[in-house]
């Protein structure tokens, strides 16, 4: 029996519950509670899927991570952002604008092609890709490209009940007055985690809910 176990272990068909080796190299996300849940932080390379509505704090969650990723002089690439990115906000968050590329594309195919080129090149630290349709084989291909170029690809998509993709990390974000409510759907080498709050009050005081503030201004436009 033990011989069989040994054989299976050698062929890497057996998974030990107590072997806690990290499946990926982690980069601190800048939010302590998130780092704790993810056992270290966000993956330094590979695919990260974030299912989120627009404008609830998804980019703010990523900014410290992106800032660390591009510190070695590599580029950050934004492919088909939902609207014109604002230089003030990014520069204020410590992103070096000289290392930022913004790519606008005409269709899904071009977006995927551009993402693959960027990931493979080795001079890009992270690619942000908005609202793209992705099949399983394409996701696998992008994952390989990301590993080759030691880059990370962050897919920002609307919540959808699709097949799970081969990603290093999949998160779902929900709006919350004090930050975002985060749910880890899938993590390579770890367990999914239930919803928990990532508090952004200290980092972004202007963008967290204030009870005493401006109640009277509530209004309905028509």
């Amino acid at each position: 029996m033990s011989a069989l176990l040994e054989q299976l272990t050698r062929r890497q068909l057996l998974w030990h519950g107590n072997s806690q080796q990290a499946a990926y190299q982690a980069v601190a996300s800048g939010y302590a509670e998130l780092d704790k849940q993810l056992a270290g932080g966000l993956p330094a390379n590979g695919l990260i899927e974030i299912q989120t509505e627009q404008g609830i704090g998804e980019l703010r969650l990523l900014l410290p991570y992106l800032q660390q990723q591009h510190q070695d002089g590599r580029l950050l690439v934004m492919i088909s952002p939902p609207a014109d990115p604002c230089a003030d906000m990014l520069a204020g968050a410590g992103i070096n604008l000289a290392q930022l590329l913004v790519i606008s594309v005409k269709n899904n195919k071009e977006a995927l092609w551009a993402a693959e080129q960027c990931l493979q090149s080795g001079c890009v630290a992270a690619v942000l890709l908005w609202q793209v349709l992705l099949r399983l084989a394409q996701a696998r291909r992008l994952q390989l490209a990301a590993e080759q170029g030691n880059a990370s690809l962050i897919l920002l998509r609307r919540p959808q009940a699709a097949l799970s993709l081969p990603v290093n990390l999949s998160l779902t974000l929900a709006a919350h007055p004090y930050g975002v409510l985060l749910n880890v759907n899938k993590r390579k080498g770890g367990w999914p985690a239930g919803p928990f709050l990532v508090d952004m009050q200290s980092r972004w005081p202007a963008l967290s809910y204030r009870y005493d503030g401006l109640k009277q201004a509530q209004r309905k436009a028509g």
Binding site: R60, A83, A87, D88, L97, L101, V105, Q117
Partner: protein, 465 residues
């Protein structure tokens, strides 16, 4: 003692076409009088000879492929060869339609002898698709006369060269057919016999052309040669043997041109930022495609990749009959400033990546982002070319949204305001244009950047993210 080299290219136009050809069909070039003036080895095997009429040639070989002779094209090719050789030997004069004079007097010192010089020239010539004959001589005309006999003679021995020259039949000289006939009627068959005659006698019986030729042949008269000047940039044309409509197939002949470009760039220790690729058609006007590289490249493989990406976006409406590659300017090679021990991060640099993206997606699709010294949100972010110099002096403004809509959207939903107002007065004398900006949160939990105009109308300017 002066020494000249003469190179004769018997089939420039033909050899240029046949490099693009893949099938083994006999090819020949015919002039306007329907005489064969250039032919390839397959034609020669079938018994076709130089100067034969078209009718006899067609009778000998039923599947003969013909190309009309174009004088300007021939001169272009000859000039291109001269420009390539210029890198090795500075004094080159054209002898249209198919010859080159190379003056060797000074340059041999650099190469330490004729043998090593000839070796370098031969290497350069073998990289080109053209057949050639050559000979050296003490004067330009002597070298030409020997080369036309296809002697392929490389020697600096003046006596031997002179002896060879004296044995030359008269038909290989530049003398007019009339003079040649007159000399033959006198029983003079070889150049040596003419040269042995006294000049006074010749001057009395023959016209001026003979004496002037002989004087230049001996080196007694000054022979002015118009030496070429190096061209800036690169220009090369390739006629396609078959019309090509698929742009993917077009890259194969293009590769040949790019390799020529690479050689020239390498020799000049330069690189180029832009290629102009002209695709020629039979009826339509030529189409010019601009392919650019932000970093600047000299390698053919890199340029080919960019060309392939660019050509994927080009749709040809008519088959292409020829391509021309033009590089107007070369840029000096910049030394790599990376340290030797820095780890190599990837196969590409950031500029190369940008070129690749621009080639496929278009120049406007790839941009950088810069801070402008403007307080108006519409003008605060610039979209310059990637990696253009960034103004670091400008401080980033306080709380701004991640995304700004190109035009503000009228607010149609219920929003809870969180902070504000921040008043923007565009012009002091236009108070009606003032805007009060607020940060608000809608029912879905999205953080919006809103403003209220002086008329109390609400708009969404951007979205925090």
């Amino acid at each position: 003692m002066a020494l000249y080299l003469y190179l004769q290219f018997p089939a420039l136009q033909l050899d240029n076409v046949s490099i693009a050809a893949t099938s083994a069909l006999p090819l020949a070039v015919v002039d306007e009088q329907h005489r064969i003036i250039q032919l390839d080895s397959l034609c020669a095997e079938r018994g076709i000879k130089f100067g034969m009429t078209l009718g006899s040639a067609a009778a000998l070989c039923h599947n003969l492929q013909l190309i009309p002779y174009q004088h300007t094209r021939q001169l272009e090719l000859l000039d291109a060869v001269a420009q390539q050789l210029y890198q090795l030997s500075p004094d080159i004069a054209l002898d249209p339609p198919d010859g080159l004079y190379l003056r060797l007097c000074q340059i041999l010192r650099l190469y330490q002898g004729l043998d090593s010089y000839w070796q370098r020239i031969q290497t350069a010539l073998s990289a080109m698709p053209y057949r050639y004959f050559y000979a050296t001589g003490n004067t330009p005309l002597a070298a030409k006369c020997l080369a036309r006999q296809q002697l392929n003679l490389i020697s600096s021995d003046g006596e031997a060269l002179l002896a060879q020259l004296q044995r030359s039949p008269l038909r290989f000289t530049d003398l007019s057919p009339d003079i040649q006939q007159q000399l033959q009627r006198l029983g003079l068959q070889q150049l040596g016999q003419v040269m042995a005659l006294s000049q006074a006698e010749l001057a009395r019986r023959f016209e001026h052309g003979l004496l002037s030729y002989l004087g230049r042949l001996r080196g007694e008269f000054y022979h002015a040669l118009d030496y070429i000047q190096p061209q800036q940039g690169f220009s090369s044309t390739l006629e396609l043997l078959y019309d090509i409509i698929d742009t993917a197939v077009l890259t194969t002949p293009l590769k040949l041109l790019l390799q020529q470009l690479e050689q020239q760039l390498k020799r000049a220790d330069a690189l180029c930022h832009q290629l102009l690729l002209e695709i020629r058609f039979r009826t339509q006007k030529a189409l010019t495609v601009i392919i650019s590289s932000v970093q600047g490249e000299y390698r053919a493989a890199q340029w080919l990749r960019l060309c392939q990406l660019k050509l994927e976006t080009v749709r040809l409406t008519e088959p292409a009959s020829g391509i021309k590659l033009d590089v107007p300017r070369f840029a000096p090679q910049r030394p790599d400033s990376n340290t030797l021990f820095q780890p190599v991060q990837g196969a590409m640099s950031a500029l190369q990546l940008t070129s690749v993206l621009q080639a496929r997606l278009g120049r406007a699709a790839v941009s950088g982002l810069s801070l402008q010294n403007q307080h108006l949100p519409e003008q605060a972010s610039g979209r310059p070319l990637p990696f253009s110099t960034v103004n670091n002096e400008v401080p980033a403004l306080a709380v701004r949204p991640a995304f700004l809509f190109q035009s503000a959207i009228a607010l149609t939903e219920q929003v809870e305001l969180n902070s504000g107002p921040e008043r923007f007065c565009i012009n002091r004398w236009q108070p009606q244009l003032q805007r009060d900006y607020f940060i608000g949160r809608n029912r879905q939990g999205q953080w919006l950047w809103l403003y209220r105009t002086a008329e109390q109308r609400w708009f969404v300017q951007g979205m925090f993210s």
